[in-house]
């Protein structure tokens, strides 16, 4: 499988990365190089093989459903590019 320029632009949009025409062109070649490389996986017979979900056999750890951390609103917004009274500030979303 390979990608064309329109697909690269669509994927960039899905990934929320602005790309110029020149970048999209360059990426098309690079992505096709990588996709060509991974193509060999299709020759592996995987019939009856389960996809890996956990690399080490382990029981999912669970904890009590209780509040054990928090009251750190100042810490949480401390690194925000824009915040106001412990709210993150973003450009207007709803007209």
């Amino acid at each position: 499988m390979s990608v064309d320029l329109a697909t690269v632009k669509r994927v960039a949009r899905l990934a929320r990365i602005a790309v110029s025409e020149e970048e999209a062109n360059r990426m098309t070649g690079e992505l096709n190089g990588i996709l060509g490389f991974v193509e060999q996986l299709s020759e592996v017979d995987v019939s009856g093989v389960e996809p890996m979900t956990s690399v080490t056999p382990m029981e999912m750890k669970k904890r009590e459903d209780v509040v054990n951390d928090g009251n750190k609103a100042d810490d949480i917004v401390a690194n925000a590019p824009a915040s106001d009274r412990n709210f993150f500030q973003v450009p207007k979303v709803v007209e």
């Binding site: 929320r16 690079e30 490389f37 991974v38 193509e39 592996v44 382990m58 949480i76």
Partner: protein, 493 residues
């Protein structure tokens, strides 16, 4: 007075305990070395001298009071991927500009709890994506090694290139690093240092900037096998904050050093003899086999038939996980923001300006293979192949193999701005051909220097072990180290 930066961790521990030197003296020696060398080597992206001296003073107080920890007064460098409270933590990316976490990663907290001293944060490939450290926003790192009779600058490998270069150039006693496809073992091999990626789940991932969560593991880079064992003992822990952290006590790895290899069975996988592999790497491998036989181990040929599929499967699984993990960098909660005409425009412009080329490439691949219509053909297929790769190792171990010996890298260190590698991303990816299988199977892997090539550059062997048998790797690597000797670059910086 002797140069204190030349002491291994084990030697410094002894001298500090005997009060022959103080932690402040040791820390000052490293800070001086960093000040002189870092403008050239570029291993550190930030140095924390005040914090280091405060921590060293506290160490001296504890030593005097007889309350020294396992790493009391030992000055370490920390890869920029680990969250360090109030200190530069950017995964060497522009998108995390000015990020100062309000928390400390579990691994670094474990080190400080044992008395270690932080010298600063180390350079790395952006978000740990790379094998040359050239994708860092903070520029390339220079390998302290140069080919005999050459002034050409070489890469230290990656992604933990700053960690490996700092250890090799005596700019820290040891360093933290992380390994998703080879990022500890390849730079260790390029710099003549020892690096271990422990079993998945041995070190907590909490507070480490995520790249590919099912593959990422922290581990140390050190001057020798003993120092790596000492560091891993402190870094590893059971952590309720990481649900993949394993509930197993951390053994005393140092106790394994010097144990006999008699009765051990070492597997030699034929699939690691790849086309175009330099003759001297094959010779190094044979030398390693001879050393282990001399030490009493039995050496057997084994087959790991899905080896060649590990790297292509990795380049689906890792970018897929990365595209999801890196979705959080949106210009809202932390780091860089580039304003746009609306919120989507702001996201797109921020991510376009904040991520470097290699990171964008991987996010794009990940987004594509996870997108509707392609998930089964790529991602699901890769996860099935991953099951087969792990099964290969399980069959070998079930047949009585205790550890596996392979080359660590397909070459010695290459040049900075190598045109051939820069022009084709897949060529760079092939750097990880011997290391990536270990991440795909979640196993422990250690790279130990074993010789120099015809250019005078270090080459390493890799040992792969059963899950949570890091101690077996340490005792086997120790035998190789004793036979091969240690390798130190001639100082030119």
């Amino acid at each position: 007075m002797t140069d204190l930066t030349r002491l291994t961790i084990a030697e410094a521990r002894e001298k500090l305990g005997a009060k022959e030197i103080t932690a402040v003296e040791l820390t000052d020696a490293y800070l001086g070395a960093i000040e002189a060398a870092n403008p050239v080597i570029n291993a550190y992206v930030t140095v924390t001298p005040d914090k280091a001296r405060d921590m060293a003073k506290a160490s001296d107080t504890r030593i005097a009071a007889g309350r020294a920890g396992a790493l009391e007064g030992i000055p370490l460098g920390i890869k920029d991927l680990f969250a360090t409270e109030g200190v530069h933590t950017q995964a060497c990316s522009h998108i995390l500009d000015s990020f100062r976490p309000k928390y400390e990663s579990t691994v670094t907290q474990n080190l400080w709890n044992d008395g270690a001293v932080m010298l600063g944060k180390l350079n790395m490939d952006e978000f740990a994506m790379g094998s040359s450290n050239e994708s860092s926003y903070y520029g390339a790192v220079k390998n302290p090694w140069r080919a005999t009779g050459s002034n050409a600058d070489l890469v230290p490998g990656g992604s933990s290139g700053g960690s490996a270069a700092a250890v090799a150039a005596f700019l820290c006693a040891g360093a933290t690093a992380t390994d998703t496809g080879g990022s500890i073992r390849q730079p260790a091999a390029f710099t003549g240092t020892v690096g271990i990626k422990p079993t998945y789940g041995r070190c907590s991932r909490w507070g480490i900037v995520a790249f590919a969560s099912s593959l990422d593991q922290a581990g140390p880079i050190a001057r020798d096998v003993r120092d790596a064992a000492i560091l891993l003992k402190s870094m590893a822990s059971v952590d309720a904050k990481d649900t993949t952290s394993v509930d197993l006590p951390v053994p005393d790895y140092e106790a394994a050093l010097g144990q006999s290899l008699k009765g051990m069975r070492i597997g030699i996988p034929r699939e690691y003899r790849v086309e175009g592999m330099p003759e001297e790497i094959e010779a190094l491998w044979q030398q390693g086999i001879a050393w282990l036989k001399e030490a009493g181990a039995e050496v057997v040929d084994i087959s790991l038939p899905h080896t060649k599929y590990a790297l292509p499967a990795y380049y689906i699984v890792a970018p897929a996980e990365a595209s999801s993990n890196l979705a959080r960098y949106d210009g809202v909660r932390y780091g860089l923001r580039v304003d746009g005409k609306d919120i989507v425009d702001m996201y797109e412009k921020t991510r376009a300006a904040g991520f470097g080329q290699e990171v964008k490439r991987r996010i794009m691949i990940g987004t594509y293979v996870l997108s509707a219509g392609y998930y089964d053909a790529y991602y699901l297929q890769a996860q099935k192949v991953r099951t087969l790769i792990k099964r290969d190792f399980e069959l070998a171990f079930n047949a009585g193999v205790d550890a596996i010996l392979t080359p660590a890298t397909p070459s010695s260190a290459f040049g900075i701005a190598d045109e051939e590698l820069a022009s084709d991303p897949v060529k760079m990816y092939l750097q990880d051909i011997f290391t990536v299988t270990v991440n795909m199977a979640g196993l422990p892997g250690l790279s130990v220097p074993a010789g120099l090539d015809h250019k005078g550059l270090p080459l390493s062997l890799q040992l792969i072990g059963k899950p949570f048998e890091e101690d077996v790797l340490f005792k086997t690597a120790h035998v190789i180290e004793k036979a091969a000797g240690r390798f130190t670059p001639a100082k030119w910086w």
